[in-house]
Structures are given as structure tokens and as C-alpha cells.
């Protein structure tokens, strides 16, 4: 069915635009589910007016049954903008969707008064409700997409932040690892550690896993790989910061770390590293004034 040629909705909306807007705003104010107080009154009014205007304009040329058509592009852009704005103001996605859906009541009121024939009215109602449902779904999708973007960016940031390789001494590097180790992170960690070994010509690298919450077989596998790769390049690796529960887990899992030096604390690992590089720490007497 070609709803564009038969539907009276576009002309009705155009004609009764201000009436619909007033009814819509009144409905929104009456509805408790919308949390009207979260945004200033003027902003509500502006958002509702802009959205209705966009829908009314796009309706004139848009295909009613296909909201994905290019004619609806301005409305979709506005919906995306609204959902981002509302998410920032603290609305949930369902509240934003409810905001769009609340347009129905005002719209249906106009339709009921303007279309006396019952069959005809049903058709008009159906096409209007389908359209607005799709718009409401679109806001949900838009806010989810915005959220995904934020998550992806934060993940990247975390990846960057979480792999500092620090130099403890001439020829001794330390890599304090923080957070859960997955394959992608281990890859970044491994590459940055090996790169720093080449740059600094370090003999010993200490991987500190104090900040790693859990160690499963996969994480252990990643650690072993990193240590082996460093060894292939001619640097010795020490794993430090093994907490007692993690030691228990490693043994229970049957992970073989026998070829790798492990220490409970970074201090122990550092002491071993100093010894491996032929250095020793001695306690001198404290002098006053220095």
C-alpha cells in the first residue's frame, strides 16, 4: 500500500502544528514517567518544537512507511542529537524513547477529530504509530551508539595508559601491569616491553603483576609468551607481585612457571635483577645533614 498518496497525516500535521505542540507539551508535563524537572522548561519546549517541525517538514516529501529513506535524514539527525543531549542530562534511553512516543497522544487526538471514517482513521493511526515507534527505536539506537563510542575510546585510553615501561636502573626495566590481561592488551604490553628492551639495551625486565586481579591459564600463557620473547632477545625476565591467592591459582591450574623467576614483591625482584647484572646494594652508615 502506498501510504504517501493516501495519507492525510502530512497535511494535517502541517495545518495543526501549533495545536499538536501544545497538546504534546501538556501531555509531557502531565506524565510522571518523563521526569520533566530534569531539564529547563524552555529546553523541553525547544526540543519538542524542533522535533515536531522536523517531522512535519520531512513528512511533506518523505515516505511514511519508510523512515530510513533519505527524506527523513534531518529528523534522524535531530533525533540522534536529542538522544545524546538527553543522555548527557541524565535521562535513560527508555525515557528518551518515551519522550518521542508521547507525541502519539497529541497526534492521535488531531487525527481523530479530522478523520471521521473509522476504517480510514485506523489506517492513519497505524501509519502514524509505526512511524513514531521507529523514531523512538532510533533514539535508543543512537544513544547506544554514543555509549559504545565512549566505551571504545576509554578502552583505547586504558590500553595506552596501562603499559608504562619504567627504567629502574641502568639495564633494568620494570613493567607494572594494572588491570585484567586479555590478548589485545598483552600484545601491546609485549610489544612495548620488547621495544624498550631494544631501545635501552636492558639485561633484565621485571614484570610486576600486583595490579592484575586474577590470573587464569590464558593470562599465564600470555606471561610465559612475553617472558620467552624477551629471553629470545637476550633479556632476562622476572615476574614479581605474585600474591598468595594467585600463587595458589597458578598451582591449582597446573601452569608451569618453573622456567621463570618469580618473586613475591617488586623489591625482591629488583634485588635479584641487581644481582643478575652484577651489582650489589650495601648498607652504609647514615650521615647527618645529607
Amino acid at each position: 500500500m502506498d501510504s504517501r498518496s493516501t495519507s492525510r497525516l502530512p497535511s494535517l500535521v502541517e495545518k495543526h502544528r501549533s495545536e499538536i505542540l501544545d497538546a504534546w507539551l501538556a501531555d509531557q508535563q502531565a506524565s510522571a514517567a518523563l521526569r520533566f524537572t530534569l531539564m529547563p522548561d524552555a529546553a523541553w519546549r525547544a526540543q519538542s518544537r524542533d522535533l515536531l517541525a522536523a517531522i512535519a517538514d520531512d513528512m511533506q516529501q518523505g515516505d511514511m512507511s519508510n523512515p530510513n529513506a533519505s527524506a527523513w535524514q534531518p529528523t534522524r539527525a535531530l533525533l540522534a542529537e536529542i538522544s545524546v543531549k538527553r543522555a548527557e542530562a541524565g535521562f535513560t534511553p527508555s525515557e528518551t524513547a518515551t519522550f518521542v512516543l508521547s507525541l502519539k497522544q497529541a497526534l492521535f487526538g488531531v487525527l481523530r477529530r479530522a478523520v471521521p471514517d473509522l476504517d480510514r482513521l485506523m489506517d492513519e493511526l497505524w501509519s502514524a504509530t509505526t512511524l513514531i515507534d521507529k523514531f523512538a527505536l532510533y533514539t535508543t539506537e543512537a544513544s547506544l551508539a554514543a555509549r559504545e563510542q565512549v566505551i571504545a575510546r576509554q578502552q583505547e585510553d586504558m590500553l595506552e595508559l596501562s603499559t608504562p615501561v619504567v627504567k629502574l636502573w641502568e639495564g633494568i626495566l620494570a613493567l607494572p601491569m594494572i588491570g585484567t590481561l586479555d590478548s589485545a592488551r598483552t600484545q601491546v604490553v609485549m610489544e612495548s616491553l620488547l621495544q624498550r628492551i631494544v631501545e635501552t639495551g636492558a639485561d633484565v625486565a621485571i614484570i610486576d603483576i600486583t595490579g592484575v586481579p586474577t590470573v587464569d591459564t590464558l593470562v599465564a600463557q600470555h606471561l610465559i609468551k612475553t617472558v620467552t620473547a624477551a629471553r629470545l632477545m637476550g633479556a632476562e625476565c622476572i615476574i614479581s607481585g605474585v600474591r598468595p591467592p594467585i600463587a595458589a591459582t597458578i598451582v591449582h591450574l597446573g601452569v608451569d612457571l618453573s622456567g621463570i623467576a618469580t618473586k613475591a614483591t617488586l623489591a625482591d625482584a629488583f634485588r635479584l635483577a641487581l644481582r643478575l647484572t652484577g651489582r650489589m646494594v650495601s648498607q652504609g652508615s647514615l650521615r647527618n645533614g645529607t
Partner: protein, 139 residues
């Protein structure tokens, strides 16, 4: 055909790979090197692969094989200058070059070879650095 030169430095043989490792070049190097070790009864071999940007499974295995054969011929083998990407590839391929010694660069590799030759060779089965419980297992 390309051929990788094997240089003799005292008791050691020095092999630096400066060209792309073709499969045939690698096979030839393996033959040449074992011949030379036997001929000059070299005590140590230094294999510098710092110019090797990437390896496939065959070349990785060749490196492991060359090092292993040299060791069987009683020459200590040190692989030096492995690039991070190469190291990661070898680990992913499961070629961990067990028993092969590694060093960051030629200079350290030489120092390592010299220190190895000064030590009396460990008897098979004997733990190196035994007697000190704190001496890390990874050393």
C-alpha cells in the same frame, strides 16, 4: 646464489645475516656452518640476526636448527640482536629456542661467549648456579 659469510674470530665463528633469509640461503648456511665448526673446531658461534626484520616458520626453525647443531658439535651458540617482531613471531610459532643462549647485541654476545668458555662446562644434569636457593630458576 647468495651465501652468508662465516667469519672466524679466534675460537669463535661469527655469522651475521645481512640479507633476506631465503630458504635456500638458510639451508646452505646450515651446511656451511656445521662444516666450518667441525673444520676449525670452533668453541663458540655467534649468530647475529639484528638485520632480520621478519621470519616465517621455516626460517625460525632453521635458526633453531643451526643453533642446535652447533651445540651438538660442542660449540656454544649465542643468537644476538633479535628484533621484537621476530621474537614475538617465534614465540607464537612455538619456537622458543630452548637451550640456545641469546644476547641483545654482538658486543654482549661476545662477552657472553667468552665468559661461557672460561667456566668449566657443566656436566649433563647438573643444575647451573646450584647451592643458592635464591638464584632464580630463569637464569
Amino acid at each position: 646464489m647468495d651465501r652468508i659469510p662465516i667469519l672466524k674470530m679466534g675460537e669463535f665463528l661469527l655469522v651475521t645475516i645481512q640479507v633476506d633469509m631465503q630458504d635456500r640461503v638458510a639451508l646452505r648456511l646450515q651446511d656451511d656452518l656445521t662444516e666450518r665448526i667441525a673444520a676449525v673446531s670452533a668453541k663458540g658461534v655467534l649468530l647475529d640476526i639484528s638485520a632480520l626484520e621478519m621470519v616465517d616458520s621455516f626460517i625460525g626453525r632453521m635458526i633453531a636448527n643451526i643453533a642446535g647443531m652447533a651445540r651438538v658439535l660442542d660449540a656454544e651458540t649465542v643468537v644476538t640482536g633479535m628484533q621484537p617482531a621476530v621474537a614475538i613471531t617465534l614465540v607464537e610459532l612455538g619456537l622458543t629456542l630452548n637451550g640456545v643462549r641469546t644476547a641483545l647485541n654482538v658486543e654482549r654476545g661476545m662477552a657472553l661467549l667468552r665468559s661461557l668458555l672460561q667456566e668449566p662446562p657443566a656436566m649433563p644434569g647438573e643444575q647451573e648456579g646450584s647451592g643458592d636457593a635464591d638464584d632464580g630458576a630463569g637464569w
